[in-house]
Structure formats: C-alpha cells, structure tokens
C-alpha cells in the first residue's frame, strides 16, 4: 500500500462542481452554436507545441508565463493563447484551406500568471477569426456574432465599443505626435481609472503640445449618438488619408452591423478604446457588461494586417475576437450573478418500491430515453423516502414511481418535485406530460 496523498489541485486552477459545470457547459455550447450559426468552422490545435513555434513572434512577458518543458530532445510548451496556434495552423495547412477562412476555436490555454482574483492559470478562450479577407463587412460580422452570443447567454445590458486604429494613427499624425503614438495609446487606455489632469501632464511630458493634448481629449471624450459622433469626426475636416479611411470604415462597419441586426443600444463608437496588442491595424473592439464595469472587457479583438508573417512569406489579413469564458464565468459565479441549479442533467428519476418492480422501471427508463428525456434509474429499491431525498438533493424536476399501490397495470405515478403534485398516468400520458 502506497501512503495516502492529499487530493488537491495547484493554485490558480478553477475546478467546478457538477452543478456549476452544467451551467458552464451550457454557456460554452451557446457560444459554439452561435459561432456555427454565423458559418465559422471548428479547429482544434494540440495543447503542446514546439516552444520556438509559440514564441515565433518574440517572447517578452509571454515567455515567462509559458509552461515550458523538455521531452527527449524537444523544447515544448503549452499554448498560452489561441491566436498564435491559429496562425501556425493557417500557415501550415494553407494549401488545404479555402479563403476566407472562418475559424472558431474553443480551447483551454495555460499561463503561469500570479494567481489573483478573476485570473486563472488554465482558462478557456473562445475565438473567432475571418482570415484572408480585407472586406470591411467582416469587421461588422464579428460584433454581430458577439451581440448574438451575449443575447443568447442571457445578458440584456452590454455594449460593444469600437474604435479604429487608422483613425487614431491618422489623428496622431494630424496632431504631429505620431512618434509618441504608442505611449499616447497606453495613456488613453487609462482614462477610466486615472485623473485626467495627470494624464494630460504625462502626455505633455512626452513632448506633445498643450493644444494637441486638448484636441486629443476632445476626440477620446466624444459623446452623443453614433451618427453624431461620426458627423463630428467628419466635421473636423482633417485631411490625413489614414484618418479619413478610419472614419469611413467606422461608418461602414456601423451601418452593416445595424443591417445585421445589432440594435443601437448595444454598440458605441468609443474613441478611447485602444487595445494593447500591437498587431491590430484597423477596427478594434471591447465589450462591457453595463452593470458590471469592474469585470473589464469580456470580449475583445480587432483587425490585423498579417496573421502569418512569422511562419510564411504569404500575407493574410483578418479580423477576430475572443471571449475569455473561464474568467467571465468565475466572475459571474463569485458575484452570484448566475444561478446554479441541478446536479444532474437528467429530468427524471425512476424510483421503485421493490425489486419486483425492476423490469417495469427499466422499461420506463428505456421509453423515456428513447423519447430523448434524460433519465436516471435509482440503483436500488431502498426506502422510498431515501429515494425522494436523493431526487430532491440532485434536483430532478420529476420522479416517476413504479409499483405505487394506486397504480394499475401499466401505470406509474408521476411526482412533480417543484409543486409536489402527484398523478397516476399510463406511459403515453407520462411521455406527453414530461416532454
């Protein structure tokens, strides 16, 4: 006998109870079904890749957070996102893919981050990308998928916020501060959390003039409806080509989004959205839950000029977005925003009074399952109260009781666990009531 080992998981790894996992899985499936509804096809990449392949873009912070290990002669690591593997996949299988390639990918990724509230070391990312197309229509498809996903997940109040990197870079050029654009973007990203006077001072410290900073603040603090905001952007009369292209794209994306069914209440042109990642070059997105601004962006992405540059001479532009489901779920769970229900996916527990009733119990279970009604048979003919207690604890909506004295041949008793109501039914009636 080996000595006993304490059953425990490393910190930073979320593990759910069955009743929580059932809710998580319903959310995951809703995301998957919605992605497919919009014509995205699934891919799945190995969790383990060559470290050099994952780091092809250059390591930085990422490298430190990778789970990396040697196996034989191979320097391997767990993927830390799905964008790099998708790029590798696309480059590797390009000859077999039809462009534009609409892929979705729902997988776990791993990052050895310092564990903290709302941060896990293992988490699901739910990504979509349209790869190999420059059509601005795609920039509108992405947020309309996201709108539908969050609707179907049951969220009423959320806003997809959009900006355009061309617009911003054109504006920086117009202000004459294109050399400071990266630092300026980083400061803009802090608008919600920091004092504006301080931010303005820091911008000036970068060598940007007071006037330019004021102009920039007018832009990023812009209010009004999306038509008003676009009119304002036009009215500035900025001659910069990149800026004008960016404004036009924002208009086209917005109009197509509306045609695709996204209501005006659920998106916003927000010039303060910058997104950290360097590779975005056009439209960028963030999504906020209106009543939970402290969750941060629950879904972000944007358009990039080239996904596969580190692997091939080909150049593939595209646009994509990602939902960090594990993080979102753990935040919802922590704040008790989602209701956790039954411990079982089954709707019916078949109980019985004696072992003599077993054949009938099994027969009824078979019929229920053949009618696609998820069913469990209580394993033994234990005291009836114990069977009911089990049904209650696991959260079955119905108990079918075989062998009740009130029932005639071929009849059973159906107990509605919510109302407590009981009725005697034959099989046909039973299937109809439960279906």
């Amino acid at each position: 006998m080996t000595p006993r080992i304490t059953p425990r998981t490393p910190s930073g790894f979320l593990e759910l109870l069955p009743e929580e996992q059932l809710v998580f899985q319903r959310m995951l499936r809703t995301i998957q079904e919605t992605y497919e509804l919009y014509g995205f096809a699934p891919i799945e990449t190995p969790a383990i890749e060559y470290a050099e392949v994952l780091l092809a873009k250059g390591g930085g912070e990422t490298e430190k957070e990778m789970y990396r290990f040697q196996k034989g002669d191979n320097d391997l690591a767990l993927h830390f996102d799905l964008t790099v593997p998708a790029a590798r996949y696309t480059a590797e299988h390009l000859a077999d893919l039809t462009l534009p390639f609409r892929r979705y990918q729902l997988q776990k990724v791993w990052r050895a981050e310092k564990p903290q509230k709302g941060r896990q070391r293992e988490f699901y990312q739910c990504d979509i990308d349209i790869i190999g197309s420059r059509s601005i229509l795609d920039d509108a498809e992405i947020p309309s998928v996201i709108y539908t996903v969050f609707q179907k997940l049951g969220f009423q109040d959320f806003v997809i916020r959009m900006n355009n990197r061309k617009l911003m870079n054109g504006f920086f050029a117009h202000l004459g501060c294109e050399d400071q654009s990266v630092e300026m973007m980083r400061l803009i990203d802090k608008l919600e959390k920091r004092d504006h006077q301080e931010l303005k001072q820091e911008m000036q410290d970068l060598g940007v003039s007071v006037e330019a900073v004021e102009h920039l603040f007018d832009l990023v603090m812009l209010q009004g409806s999306w038509t008003e905001r676009l009119s304002y952007l036009d009215s500035l009369g900025i001659e910069n080509g990149l800026y004008q292209e960016g404004v036009l794209e924002l208009r086209q994306v917005t109009e197509a989004m509306i045609a695709l069914g996204v209501p005006e209440t659920h998106f916003e042109i927000d010039l303060s959205i910058t997104r950290g990642l360097d590779y975005y070059t056009g439209t960028v997105y963030e999504t906020r839950l209106t009543h939970y601004p402290h969750f941060g962006s629950v879904c972000s992405g944007g358009r990039y000029d080239n996904l596969v540059g580190q692997y091939t001479e080909e150049s593939l532009p595209g646009v994509g977005i990602s939902i960090g489901l594990t993080r979102l779920f753990s935040q919802l769970l922590e704040e008790k925003i989602i209701s956790i229900g039954a411990q079982t996916p089954a709707r019916v527990l078949v109980a019985r009074f004696s072992d003599q009733d077993l054949p009938q119990a099994l027969d009824i279970a078979r019929l229920l399952r053949e009618s696609s009604i998820a069913t469990e048979v209580y394993a033994t003919a234990e005291k009836f109260g114990k069977q009911l207690k089990y049904a209650h604890k696991k959260g079955f909506p119905f108990v079918v009781i075989v062998g009740a004295s009130e029932a005639e041949d071929g009849q059973v008793m159906l107990k509605d666990m919510q109302s407590g109501e009981q009725q005697i039914l034959d099989i046909k009636e039973l299937l109809k009531v439960i279906s």
Copy 2:
C-alpha cells in the same frame, strides 16, 4: 523582424482540417448527449496536476510516459488518463457530491508514447463512471449507455463483450491455481493473437496441471447464446462462492441490459475477456466493431472495489467505461470509413451581384440566422462565378442569390448546390424551403 519559423507540430499529435474536425465534433457531441441522456453529469479537471497526486497509485510505465515539469517549486504533470483525476476530484469534493455520483468527463489526456499507427500522444478520452454504489444494476447501465452511443454514432455491427473477475478468480481457485491468476489472465488475453498450444504450454510452465489448463480452455473458448453459456457455467457445479457470485452477477447484468433495450445481437458473455488493469474486481467490458476487429477494443471498462483509496480513508466502489475517441476517429479516418463532408457548418451562402445589394443580403442573412439556419455572407460582390466556386469548394448545400435580374422586389434566387436547381422565392418561401 524575427526570422521565420517553420510552422509544424510535434509528432504524435493529431491535427484535423475543418471538414474533419466538424465530423469529430459531431461524434464528441453525440457521446456527450448520450451520456447526459442517461443522467451522467459533466466534470472537468485541470490538465495540469501535482505529479505526486497523479502518481499516487504508483508509477510504473505511466511515470515514463508523463509530461512532467517543474514550475517554481512545483513538480507538475499533464494528466495521462481521466480515472486518476476523477478519483482525486471525488475524494477532494466528496462533501459536496451526492452519491451515487454519475460523472462523465470528455477531455484530452497526454502520454509521451512512442508514436505509432493509431497511437497519439494527445487524445480524447470519453469516460463515464457511477461512483459510490455496489448495485449490479449499474453494471447493466454502463453497457446500455455504450450500446446507445455506438448506435447513435452510426455503427450497426458491434458487440459489447463482458466477463466477471469474481467468476474468473473463483474458477482459478477451483482449479487450484489462484497464485498464478495474474499471469494466467495475461496469457488468456493473448488468445486471439497466439497459438493455443503454445499458450497451454506456457500455462503448464507456470506449474498449472494439464487438466486445469484444459478446464480453463473449455471455459474461455465457450460458445453459444448467452443463456447457453450461463447454463454451462451453472452446470459445472463449482462450489466456490466467488465463482457463483460472478455467474449470478453476469446473469443479473445481462437480464437488466436486455430490459434496458440492448438487443442480444450486440452483447456477448465472453470468458476470455480479462482487461489488463489490476483494479477491476467484478464485471469487465470490451467493445469490438465486428467488421474491424483489428481496431481492438474501442471501449473498455469494468467494476472496481475502491476508487479513492490512495487519497482518503473512505472506500468508494463503482463501475465505469471509457471511449478513446481520438484513436477510434483516426482509425476510421485512415481506413476511409467515415465520410468527410463540408468545410463549413453553414447551410447557406448569401451571394450578391453588386454592392448595391448589400443591405438586402445582410437582411436575409439576419432572417436566416434568426430561424437558426447557419449562414455566411460572401464578403464582397465579386464575380458571381467566383462566389459559386467558393460555395462549391466549402460545401454549402444552398446559395441564396440577391440581386438576380429575374427576382422582383423582396425576392431572391435559391440555388440547390446538389441538384443545381434554381428557383425564385420570397423570404417566407425561402425560410420554409431551407428549414
């Protein structure tokens, strides 16, 4: 610019094209839905665990095949099966679980095996277990789930073969060779592949008498219907209690399976099934595809006395089974047994003649999606032939054409890509035809 890295994956890792992944995912979902139909609840455990937790049962071969690595002070590893994590999970969360605990788990596991045909280093296991119950009914539930799974996966000809370890151990005791039972089982496991005379000789070399070996061969080579086989087992008049218990269990399992709807054509009592794993103590299962015996067992499992012994003082018996889906899928793929279809989950491509038709195209896409019809809008108003070619290549069953000269206001043209037929329809008719 960093230098280009060749996009490639380590050997032994299966990566599918979208059209293959779509089929794989349908199979995975069928398994999941069937598991839920029988009242199994999902759990998911972290891919990364403490190495000592995964090795609590003792290492052996497993230890060499683990992907193990150090991170900070932690000795970690990727799980190599789902049974050990399920045991750890059950022991850790026991206070929050309701027994019997019916869990399913569909996850990837990793083993650094020597890559060979049909063996992957990363593969899905699809497990169910009923934990915390000694009811023999559970031993019948497990194969009836498996029967339904394989039916729903589209397999017509397969046989679930069952044996019972008590019966075998009782028989060995009856023969007086209980001390050699482990080696004898290992030899029986080779019956299909090796010469019987040689095997008999090796059994005798273990010190088992010629008569005992002959008796054993009569048992393991037993033919006939399940009733005949059970009658034969009874007719031997063996007084050993373990043997008798085993025969009784086989009878009870078989009768309950039939009541649960498993036809006699799809199971078999097969006394030559032994299963390698030490921890099985009662019923054991294997499943063969009749026309592909060289696939080996595609689904195996059995009953065990105690799942959680290495983690806690509690003792939890149970019964479970596992489908190795990645392996099965790669075998089916290799032998071209499954047909691979479209590259897209969408049923409709919306094409258009000019950018003027974009609003109508987007409107139709919205209506189709609202009717749960998966739809893609072609990104640009390119030459119509190019749009059709794309539809053909990706395998859309339907193309909806907006702006065709034959169509009046509010009408579109529907092209059936299979038959080539085209018809002019209004939106209502369109939704009806495609639904």
